[in-house]
């Protein structure tokens, strides 16, 4: 890939890579750093990318690796989990009595997703938010497509169990 194609790649995918990292790391400043790291790595490697490769999936794979390195230590994951709770409390400002039940349920969903084990969280986000196929997710997570599928399944099962009994489980669509 030449320099010009790389520029196009940055312009086209920077935002969604940042969104992906923001959703999986919870802090925007960290997501910004990690998105930069992703594209710096991509620049270093882009010459070896075959012309017919799926560049988008390749970028998600790099971003996933960057995120995995970032969260390697379990303690950091815990801190992040705590951080998302804090952030929610800050941003939702109005306090519980001002929130609709649906918003509350959505915030809960965010928190539940944030608490998923890393691989499940990454696989789930790649599949459900960024619509990557299981082959691409498998390459990102360095596992088989079946394992990728299993991660997404486990993630959803945990989400459902965590949300059971909350208003959300009888979401808007069912009312």
């Amino acid at each position: 890939m030449d320099a010009e194609r790389f520029d196009t790649l940055v312009a086209t995918h920077h935002r969604e890579i940042y969104r992906y990292l923001a959703r999986t790391t919870f802090r925007t400043s960290e997501a910004d750093d990690l998105a930069q790291e992703t594209f710096l790595r991509a620049y270093r490697a882009h010459r070896t990318l075959p012309p017919d490769a799926n560049a988008r999936a390749w970028l998600f794979a790099i971003a996933t690796n960057v995120a995995k390195n970032h969260f390697r230590a379990e303690s950091r994951r815990r801190r992040a989990h705590a951080a998302v709770r804090e952030t929610r409390n800050e941003t939702d400002g109005a306090g519980p009595e001002g929130e609709t039940l649906l918003n509350e349920a959505r915030a809960l969903l965010d928190t539940v997703v944030a608490g998923l084990p890393l691989k499940q969280r990454l696989a789930f986000t790649l599949r459900k938010v960024h619509d990557l196929d299981y082959d691409a997710i498998a390459r990102s997570l360095d596992c088989s497509p079946d394992s990728a599928r299993a991660h997404v399944f486990q993630a959803l099962r945990k989400i459902r169990r965590s949300l059971n009994g909350s208003e959300f489980s009888l979401g808007r669509d069912e009312r």
Binding site: V10, R15, A31, R44, R47, K128, R160
Partner: protein, 321 residues
């Protein structure tokens, strides 16, 4: 929590796949059949669908501060791109050669001595650059270089990036050296003169000692005022001799003191008539080379816009090839 019947446990992955749209039609039909008869699974399916639709709202939703994050990436990427040199190491008749280039142009050609890996290169010790082994981009340069060394090509029309020059003066020396045409030889003093610093002969030699782009910046075409080849790439004066020979410039004498054979070369001492001479014209071949340019052929003299001397008439008395 009550345990689910095993049939329900077994179908749960398929149920999830159906809820999130990942299941094929056969699987989805199987799940539909099951949930028609199983109320708890029906409820689960509805819950999974609700989760799926809630998560769907995340798609395309902007992340916080999204508008602000592009700028730092742009500047860090630009910085990395400026610093990056891609290189590869090739075998060559002159020994292993490292070729590196930036996005601007060819920035390093290095004869590797003491080992043909990157750790032995001068490039590995340069600061402020990031060297990446890769080099599909330098492959074509290598082919040109091979052709050149084998005498099948006389020009290397590459964009050059002189970033590894150690100072502005060094850069000026390299630029002046790059102007010496194929088949011509000048002296260190001559280059110093071109730069308007006639006393800087040693500094010119020093600058060429650090030439980051040998061959393409043809420091092998710069010799001592006595005609001695002096040094090249450390103590590899044989390489200099070889590169000059490819261009039709012979050297004579023992290896430790080889010098160009001036009597086989045309001489051009700058003059208003732009006349070039035979080495036998007056005392020209006995004077130090200094500002004189030595030329391998009359064709080259013609290409440089020079005319035959009206006294010695190199046009009528060509030197034996």
């Amino acid at each position: 929590m009550m345990r689910k019947p095993s049939v329900c446990q077994k179908i749960e992955p398929e149920l999830v796949a159906t809820a999130i749209g990942d299941a094929d039609t056969t699987t989805a039909a199987r799940v539909e059949t099951h949930v028609r008869a199983c109320a708890p699974c029906r409820q689960d399916l509805a819950r999974y669908r609700a989760i799926d639709s809630a998560v769907g709202a995340w798609r395309g939703a902007p992340a916080p501060a999204e508008e602000l994050v592009g700028a730092r990436l742009t500047s860090r990427l630009a910085d990395l791109r400026r610093r990056t040199l891609v290189y590869r190491i090739f075998p060559s008749p002159l020994g292993p050669i490292l070729i590196a280039r930036s996005e601007e142009g060819v920035s390093c050609i290095e004869y590797l001595t003491g080992g043909s890996d990157f750790a032995h290169s001068r490039l590995s010790r340069e600061e402020g650059i990031e060297a990446l082994l890769d080099g599909a981009e330098v492959e074509a340069l290598y082919r040109d270089l091979l052709e050149y060394v084998e005498g099948r090509r006389t020009r290397l029309e590459w964009p050059l990036d002189l970033r590894l020059a150690r100072s502005e003066f060094h850069r000026a020396v390299l630029q002046a050296t790059a102007q010496i045409p194929y088949g011509a030889v000048r002296s260190y003093a001559g280059i110093a003169g071109v730069l308007g610093k006639p006393a800087a002969t040693r500094a010119v030699a020093q600058a060429l000692r650090w030439n980051p782009l040998p061959i393409v910046v043809p420091c092998h075409r710069v010799i001592g005022a006595s005609g001695a080849l002096t040094g090249y790439a450390g103590n590899r004066v044989m390489l200099k001799q070889r590169l000059l020979a490819v261009e039709g410039i012979r050297a004579i004498g023992p290896r430790s003191d080889s010098r160009v054979a001036r009597n086989t070369l045309y001489h051009y001492d700058r003059n208003d008539q732009r006349e070039y001479c035979l080495p036998t014209c007056g005392d020209i071949a006995r004077r130090p080379i200094g500002p004189v340019t030595l030329l391998a052929s009359r064709e080259l003299a013609g290409a440089m816009g020079l005319v035959p001397c009206s006294a010695c008439r190199p046009d009528l008395h060509p030197l034996a090839a």
